[in-house]
């Protein structure tokens, strides 16, 4: 009999605790709430029990909130890049933009290897084909465009079909004169001379470029062979949305084109941020990009850059399209030691 009454008492206490717990959480029906209020008013022991439960709840609830370590997002991206975890959908992942981002990560790694290999070849070809003339190319006509003010750095609102781009590309090299000469030559070849102004200083050259997306893509394609001669290439993308620039270190010509070709500001910024992470990962993984290249991801291994034209007439096939296309790209290229 005593055992039964102990169990009853235990069950009763359990029931009271459950009601009190629901009471402090405001999770009781109106009838139960009234019942609890009546019990509290009549029994000081129950009232004390309620206060203690409230104190326990408050103590747990006031524990400081921990902030996630900043590398969570990068870790997630790295995990997904490693497992190629594009969402399983009916269409092949490579046709999905989301899948493309994941594939892009792997491509970037292999692209770095491509550029390194191709650059060595390009360097050899360049020294054979154009050792002298490149150093004595006439400078591109200077139109004394003043340094860009802040209004130049602001993205132009999307009032036209082509999305405006504003940014800065900083190239560092120990062969400043040679690299500057190549850039000048490529600008002339692409008939962008009218679109730029440049500044020559002792330790740096600044090219202010205003052209169409097509013009820039063409320029970038021709500058690709230059990359192995650079110590670093960093892209700064102007943004109003985030109130600051997004930086992409170790940027490649393909990445610059991809960033500029995005069809919304938001996508452009997000892609730039993704590429920034991927590039820094690639830099921390010596040999990883080579492995990816061998595994056959990314573009064709033996893509030789277009040989430099060292003399004679410059091609002007792009003239018509460039002059007619909308000049929505504003890019400042700074080459320094």
């Amino acid at each position: 009999m005593k055992e039964d009454s102990d169990m009853d008492a235990y069950a009763y206490e359990g029931r009271i605790d459950e009601l009190l717990s629901g009471f402090i959480d405001d999770e009781l029906a109106a009838r139960q709430r009234t019942e609890v209020e009546r019990l509290i008013a009549r029994d000081p022991k129950i009232e004390r029990r309620l206060v203690q439960l409230q104190k326990c709840r408050m103590l747990v609830g006031s524990l400081p909130c921990a902030e996630a370590p900043p590398q969570i997002l990068q870790g997630v991206k790295a995990s997904l890049a490693g497992t190629s975890a594009a969402p399983a959908q009916e269409e092949p992942a490579r046709n999905q933009p989301a899948g493309r981002i994941h594939l892009l990560g792997r491509r970037m790694l292999s692209a770095a290897a491509m550029i390194a290999l191709v650059g060595i070849l390009a360097g050899v070809i360049y020294t054979i084909v154009a050792p002298e003339t490149a150093l004595h190319q006439p400078q591109v006509a200077v139109d004394h465009q003043p340094p860009l003010g802040t209004e130049m750095l602001k993205p132009v609102p999307d009032t036209s079909a082509a999305l405006a781009f504003s940014g800065r590309l900083e190239l560092k090299t120990s062969a400043l004169a040679e690299v500057a000469a190549i850039i000048n030559r490529v600008i002339e070849e692409n008939d962008l001379s009218d679109s730029i102004g440049d500044v020559r200083e002792a330790n740096r050259r600044i090219h202010y470029l205003r052209c169409s997306r097509e013009g820039l893509n063409s320029l970038l394609a021709d500058l690709k062979g230059l990359w192995p001669n650079l110590d670093s290439a960093t892209m700064f993308i102007d943004t109003e949305l985030y109130g600051r620039q997004v930086t992409v270190d170790a940027v490649t010509t393909e990445q610059i084109g991809e960033i500029i070709d995005q069809d919304s500001y938001e996508k452009r910024i997000e892609l730039a941020k993704d590429l920034g992470v991927l590039n820094s990962m690639a830099e921390r993984m010596p040999g990883g990009e080579i492995l990816a290249a061998i595994e056959g991801e990314g573009p064709s291994l033996m893509t030789i850059p277009r040989p430099m034209i060292t003399g004679g007439e410059l091609p002007n096939a792009k003239l018509t399209s460039e002059t007619q296309a909308e000049k929505t790209v504003r890019l400042t290229i700074i080459v320094s030691r």
Binding site: A66, P87, Q96, P97, P157, E240, I269
Partner: protein, 213 residues
């Protein structure tokens, strides 16, 4: 419209888009190929998920790893997400399940007695806890926040609960979920939430009282 006005209108629209998009819209945008939408979901929930996971497993490194694993799993399974529950509920279900499984796999066998637990704390900390519990007045959040010595005791006391009890207390008292939402996250009946939470709090009260003696 002037150029400045254009820029201003564009900026305002961009900011509106950035902050006002709900979870369902972000999920849909990701499904349509917008990877930036997914990043926003991760950024939006990473602190809350990490905080809950950390409070359950009590190890910052494990919590970071489990949080990351949670998001990877979310992304890998997003195509299966049918939207019957909200993204928030679904995300927390994945996080808590992963964490509880992890805790069960790595259950520490060194269960200390309450006496040993009590000896961990100095007399000053025990007195602070005793004062807090024995004070007959209604609890005041401002008082709790000032008595930071109580935090460590509360964290350790939480670890005296079994994982299932700990999870329900954390989801309710730290994450502030309703009973119905907890039932969805843990995939249990509403009545089970009530009874488990009540037992967990009673146990917590016993542990705290034992430490304060």
């Amino acid at each position: 419209m002037t150029e400045a006005a254009n820029i201003d209108a564009w900026r305002q629209q961009a900011l509106r888009d950035h902050f006002s998009v709900g979870d369902a819209a972000l999920v849909e945008r990701y499904r349509q190929g917008d990877s930036a939408a997914l990043e926003r979901l991760v950024v939006k929930y990473q602190n809350r998920i990490y905080n809950v996971v950390l409070k359950i497993c009590a190890d910052p490194d494990d919590a970071a790893e489990l949080t990351q694993e949670t998001f990877v799993k979310i992304i890998q399974n997003l195509h299966k997400f049918e939207g019957r529950s909200g993204f928030y509920t679904w995300a927390f279900r994945i996080a808590v399940n992963l964490t509880l499984n992890y805790c069960q796999r790595n259950a520490r066998l060194t269960v200390r007695s309450l006496d040993a637990e009590q000896e961990q704390y100095g007399s000053q900390e025990r007195q602070a806890l005793k004062d807090y519990l024995s004070d007959g007045s209604s609890p005041d959040a401002a008082v709790v926040v000032q008595r930071k010595e109580l935090y460590e005791i509360a964290t350790k006391a939480l670890m005296r609960l079994d994982e299932a009890q700990r999870a329900v207390v954390i989801l309710r008292d730290i994450e502030g979920m309703s009973y119905a939402r907890i039932a969805e996250v843990l995939d249990i009946e509403l009545g089970t939430v009530r009874s488990r939470l009540s037992r967990a709090r009673s146990r917590l009260r016993e542990v705290l009282e034992a430490i304060s003696r």
